[in-house]
Amino acid sequence: MAGTKDRLVVSTTTVLRFAPHIVFRFDDTRRRWIIMAPERLMLPDEQAVEILQLVDGKIEVGGIVDKLAARYTQAAREVIAKDVVAMLQDLADKGCLAAGSSDAAG
């Protein structure tokens, strides 16, 4: 049987990609971004969509924070970092995100 695995803990140095069975796309019928996962559908809010659009299997979470900090100069970088890590950790715990580059096998 397959072995057990460890929980993915997200930090600013983690590189994230969508898990192979996750579909993050725009739905033309409902005119909003959706995340499709096994037997569930998630409707990320605007802020989450903006973060997820930067998840590409290459950039570190800290790099995502930098990009957002450049867009929202009125918010402190540490505050943005805390929100981004928490949101990505939640999606990692739901099995939507995996560590590593997109080229790695599922």
């Binding site: 579909v23 096994p38 715990d93």
Partner: protein
């Protein structure tokens, strides 16, 4: 009287019941007592047209189910058709037919996920519940093939009095199989399960002990195994929001093409369910009498009608209301506010260690 306007949103998911054929004979089978014949099943071209119509209607996910959907030889083609239309496809299987070569074809066609049922974690008990010798070992091999291919796996275990005590071992079993999700679903009392209710319904203390095990495991396995847990509504105070409300999120298509708001709805009298052979899915969803009958809140009687939860639980389950009271428009008797709640209390009292009867056992075709 409060009235809530009805906004009809497009459905999120389609449950495609490809066939009622299945090698297992589980005593809680959710298929109707009167199974549809193989010769009446929709053909491949008809299903592909249905998938077209579903995508156009706004459906996002398709669950290929049954019966045992792998009894259909065209399953890979149907998965491919769903994928090419942007539909997220999920296979709900017993794992008792086929294995790695079929799974490779499904993955190649774009299958995203497999939900595999187990009847228990111990082969002897599992095979006894499934009514098929050797089934459990085949399912373990099937689970290994799913993981070897890299498809995500949900293990589904239907629990009831005879196997509820093993719930901790079921959780360990799912982790060892490499599952990402475990769905522990208490039997819901329709069809074959309703006929076997006295043998299947656990006591309150048995249920509470099981729930405690699940809650502890959820905390311990966070990020490793997600556990979905469906409790038996017979022990609840408020009803489940059945299908998230009639005709609000889901539609179900039977093997012969009947379009239903849920898989049990055919038991309801006085409703004529349209067929995909006669009408377009969009017409059926928005305009058919069957889908509009229990939409919204206008159909409700008291105590639902003025209840602050009327748009939370949508009156509970129409099928359960009918099966227990004979009237589909009454409040689900599971609700403690229902004037018929005594029926559920009575069922709880009558639950016992009686023996169950298998699906398709002609000598014991149940009357309710």
């Amino acid at each position: 009287m409060p009235q809530d306007s009805i906004q009809i949103d497009p459905p999120l998911a389609l449950l495609a019941e490809l066939t009622h054929r299945c090698p297992l004979r589980c005593p809680y089978c959710s298929n109707p007592l009167k199974l549809e014949r193989a010769s009446d099943e929709l053909g491949e071209a008809e299903w592909i047209r249905v998938l077209d119509e579903a995508a156009a209607l706004g459906v996002l996910q398709v669950h290929f189910s049954g019966g045992e959907p792998m009894a259909r030889r065209d399953l890979a083609a149907l998965i491919g058709a769903a994928s090419s239309r942007g539909l997220y496809s999920n296979l709900i299987t017993s794992g008792a037919l086929g294995g790695e070569s079929e799974l490779r074809a499904f993955a190649g066609a774009g299958l995203k996920h497999v939900q595999l049922s187990f009847q228990d974690v111990v082969a002897e008990s599992a095979d006894r519940i499934a009514g098929l010798a050797g089934a459990h070992e085949r399912k373990i091999a099937f689970a290994q093939a799913v993981r070897a291919i890299g498809l995500p796996l949900t293990v589904n275990v239907v629990v009831h009095r005879p196997n509820l005590g093993g719930i901790g071992r079921m959780i360990d079993f799912a982790v060892a199989l490499g599952a990402q999700r475990l769905e522990i679903a208490h039997v819901q009392y329709y069809g074959w399960a309703l006929a076997n209710r006295a043998a299947l319904l656990p006591s309150r203390s048995e249920l509470d002990a099981a729930t405690e095990v699940v809650e502890a495991a959820r905390e311990r396995l966070k990020g490793i195994l997600a556990i979905d847990y469906v409790v038996p509504d017979y022990h609840a105070v408020r009803p489940k929001s059945c299908m998230s409300g009639w005709g609000r999120r889901f539609l179900n298509i039977s093997p012969a093409g009947k379009v239903l708001p849920c898989h049990a709805a055919e038991v309801l009298p006085g409703l004529s369910f349209p067929s995909v052979r006669d009408a377009n899915l969009t017409d059926i969803w928005y305009r058919s009498d069957a889908f509009n009958r229990f939409r919204g809140t206008a159909w409700m009687a008291e105590p639902c009608r003025s209840c602050e939860r009327r748009t939370v639980d949508w009156g509970g389950c129409r099928c359960q209301a009918f099966l227990l009271t004979g009237d589909a428009a009454r409040t689900d008797p599971v609700c403690a506010l229902s004037p018929d709640h005594g029926l559920v209390e009575d069922a709880r009292r009558k639950a016992s260690a009686a023996a169950f009867r298998y699906r398709r056992d002609p000598a014991t075709l149940p009357t309710v």
